[in-house]
């Protein structure tokens, strides 16, 4: 019985993957993501290559001069992938929503839902299979983006990431898969919950706009450190500890600001990904457990969203009529 269920879920997943792979709109969106990522990483890597050359020249000169204590490289190759994660955060979420919309609208447009539901398939298996197939598509997409980004860093930036960095990068891309899968659930959920599929897509894109662009923007605008270019606290010569100390005098303001940011799923993904890829300088020296501790709130929020949306998806599939209402 359980193996029958697994077989049906896998059949639906394969079907979902094939349909997505043959969708022109998804192929176009994937191309945009990969090209945007490559462009962003290549530009950053070119500048990195010149800074790396400068450091290597300094290092060689220091060694030749008999200097024994040489400053370590301040460069972090993983931080070049910032653009890749920002594009996944914005374009990746749109791709995932589109994927979810297509899952539901495909069955409606083709009128194949009655044929599906006249088979021994439950709506739960349909939801699970569709999600699994979508995760397959997202993994393909993320792996393609990761390969382009890492190759760009190596080939243009002349610095190949090591095993430890690769591990952190895998974690960040793993969470990127979870992030996109959650937006897939949002797209499928809103589409399945509305009679007109395009209305569902519009609702999902409205939520995307709010969660990915508006909320983080409000949070950033209200951030005291962002009030002058280069950072207010840096201009005042204050480190992270000094910043924290000053902000204790603005507790209520900071609570409101961080609460606005906390409502954004995208912000949590960004915080986790940036922590794993050395984008934030203060995280660079931390061990992996310490990194997890620093972004624990984001991890919890990501898990909450990533659990709630599949449940909502399952619920909407269960309530979706097998045949268009009113047909007699």
């Amino acid at each position: 019985m359980a193996s029958d269920r697994r077989h049906r879920v896998l059949t639906i997943a394969r079907h979902e993957y094939r349909a997505a792979a043959r969708s022109r709109i998804l192929v176009v969106l994937l191309a945009i993501l990969v090209i945007a990522t490559a462009g962003s990483v290549i530009v950053a890597a070119a500048e990195y290559a010149s800074r790396l050359a400068d450091y290597q020249a300094y290092h060689a000169a220091a060694v030749a001069g008999g200097v024994t204590q040489i400053a370590p490289s301040p460069l972090a190759p993983l931080s070049l992938l910032r653009g890749a994660f920002e594009y996944i955060e914005i374009i990746g979420a749109v791709i995932a929503i589109t994927l979810g919309y297509l899952t539901v609208s495909r069955e409606r447009v083709n009128r194949t839902l009655p044929l599906l539901m006249s088979r021994p398939v439950t709506s739960g298996e349909l939801a699970a299979g569709s999600l699994l197939g979508a995760v397959g598509v997202i993994v393909t997409l993320v792996v393609a983006t990761m390969a382009v980004a890492v190759l760009s860093v190596g080939l243009v930036g002349h610095d190949w990431i090591n095993v430890g960095q690769a591990g952190k990068l895998m974690l960040a891309f793993g969470v990127a898969v979870v992030y996109m899968a959650t937006f897939y659930c949002l797209g499928a959920f809103t589409t399945a919950s509305t009679k007109v599929a395009t209305n569902g897509l519009m609702v999902a894109l409205g939520i995307w706009l709010f969660v990915v662009l508006v909320l983080p923007q409000i949070g950033d605008t209200l951030d005291a450190d962002n009030q002058i270019p280069g950072g207010l606290f840096a201009a005042l010569g204050l480190g992270h500890d000094g910043e924290v100390q000053i902000l204790t005098h603005f507790t209520a303001y900071e609570t409101v600001r961080t609460s606005i940011e906390a409502a954004s799923f995208a912000k949590h993904f960004e915080r986790f990904a940036f922590a794993m890829t050395d984008v934030k300088e203060r995280f660079r020296s931390l061990s992996l457990p310490d990194l997890f501790f620093q972004v624990r709130a984001s991890i919890v929020w990501i898990l909450i969203y990533a659990t709630a949306l599949p449940i909502a998806l399952n619920h909407s599939f269960r309530n979706q009529p097998s045949i268009p209402q009113g047909e007699t």
């Binding site: 083709n110 009655p114 088979r119 045949i323």
Partner: protein, 244 residues
């Protein structure tokens, strides 16, 4: 299996508080080809939708192969085939890909082999590797029947199967229904407007009018009562209460 293939007791269904099916009692034996006649909106498709578990009945009970359509959905759907009035499949996939997908959902082992065998049985192997999106109505109907029988169900539901078919397509479909009944022993439940189809193919007929079953008898008894097609049409119109 014992007992009738389909048993309906006091079946009723409401759409938005409007009763579209009312107190229908019906029993169809195994191996029958049952023709379900009725005007547009009489409730034929609603009946098929209930029997194929696509909608839940508001009132009464329906059993297929002894299993309740409302509470034993998986057991019912495991052993039925369904051809909707308008056959629409995944247009970007070939006929074989479509059929393999549906066969696998029904738990058919060696699905590709079963698909090839079914296409050969229906004499449409030439369509196997073509995308369904390019098919004519007749071709889609043949592939639709293939998806309905690829898992060899014991009961086959056909909703207006001749709609949109040309005369040769209708003739081919008629032959197919008779072959399926004879070769595979399938019980066939067919919604139709076509009296000619009913008289040539069905072993039993029922007439549904405004959601109520107003006539049911064997084709043999019906033919005795209405010896030619014109008189059958007359009596159908009369039963419907429409102007002749």
């Amino acid at each position: 299996m014992k007992g009738p293939a389909i048993e309906i007791v006091g079946l009723g269904h409401k759409y938005n508080d409007i009763l579209v099916l009312h107190d229908v009692d019906l029993s169809i034996d195994r191996g029958e080809i049952f023709g379900f006649l009725g005007h547009n909106g009489a409730g034929k498709t609603t009946t098929v939708n209930i029997l194929t578990t696509l909608i839940r009945p508001t009132l009464g009970r329906a059993l297929v192969n002894g299993h309740d359509v409302a509470t034993e959905r998986r057991l019912v759907t495991a052993d039925i085939g369904y051809l909707p009035s308008e056959v629409r499949m995944y247009p970007h996939m070939t006929a074989t890909e479509n059929l393999t997908f549906f066969a696998e959902l029904s738990g058919v082992e060696k699905a590709k082999h079963a698909v090839a065998e079914t296409l050969e049985y229906l004499d449409c192997s030439d369509l196997a590797d073509r995308r369904v999106g390019s098919f004519s109505t007749g071709m889609r109907q043949r592939i639709g029947i293939a998806q309905a029988i690829v898992h060899r169900p014991s009961v086959l539901f056909l909703d207006e199967p001749t709609a949109g078919l040309d005369p040769s397509g209708i003739r081919q479909l008629r032959r197919t229904i008779l072959d399926l009944n004879r070769d595979l022993g399938m019980t066939v439940f067919m919604n139709t407007h076509q009296l000619s189809e009913v008289s040539r193919v069905c072993t039993t007929i029922g007439v549904l009018s405004r959601g109520e079953l107003i006539y049911k008898d064997s084709m043999e008894a019906t033919t005795r009562r209405f010896p030619d097609e014109t008189s059958l049409e007359d009596i159908y119109v009369q039963m419907e209460g429409s102007p002749a």
